[in-house]
Symmetry: C2
Subunit: 112 residues, 2 copies
DNA sequence: TATTGTGCTACAGATACTGTAGCATGCTCT
DNA sequence: AGAGCATGCTACAGTATCTGTAGCACAATA
């Protein structure tokens, strides 16, 4: 699967709109999970594998390459970590944690 | 693929944490794309197919079922539309549009 | 009755992901 | 030097997921 670069045709859109490249990227299995788990701080490859519970090393490496190529994460001496762009992305995504809790509660009510 | 319900084990996590169910859900191909395209207002099945450019009807229907089951979208007389929960979700996701534009610009600079 | 538009399904082929094993490299510690 | 251990990462077979084309069943309209 090719890396979804803004300006180019991506999976799901031929327009090259940045949002479509981003949606393609974070719509891939585990991409958001990896970013989410890097919130806790830098992690080595094997640490990340553990944080992500069930990810296969093959896929982890593929996603890491993509995220690196797009400057969302970078590999430093302490391990993989978010770049400043990655940081600003996660600040947007962060409220999802709170939202998901409310959502879970409402689903519980609606089903009872 | 089973529907990722908060409280249950999902793809990528055994803990049942709501955020993990949500990340599983929106990490599936096209899930975010569908939600994003419903911003513009309600759409019939075939309208949605067109907005999503290249989605297969099989997958579109699968995703719609999941999103319906989780009360993020609903089917009304005018077509599929976001529920109030879906609306609040998209308000969180909305800033991604702006972020992606900045990101695209920075990628352009960094590669030149 | 024929046409057009719905929502949706079947199914074969292509693509993406998992899980296990293990390689190559660089440490540290006898 | 040699043995252990941890690192990032790869190979590959098996499985799950997605695409693309065709078309069904139903309803409204002409």
């Amino acid at each position: 699967m090719s890396i979804p670069q803004p300006g180019k045709q991506v999976r799901g859109s031929k327009t090259g709109k940045p949002i479509m490249a981003l949606l393609d990227l974070i719509g891939r299995t585990w991409a958001l999970g990896i970013i989410w788990n890097l919130q806790q701080g830098a992690a080595t490859f094997r640490e990340l594998q553990q944080r992500c519970e069930q990810i296969s090393p093959t896929l982890l490496n593929t996603r890491l390459k993509e995220l690196k190529a797009l400057h969302i994460i970078e590999l430093k001496e302490t391990g993989y970590q978010l770049t400043s762009q990655g940081q600003s992305l996660i600040e947007i995504i962060f409220p999802l944690g709170q939202w998901s809790i409310q959502w879970a509660n409402e689903l519980k009510e609606q089903s009872s």
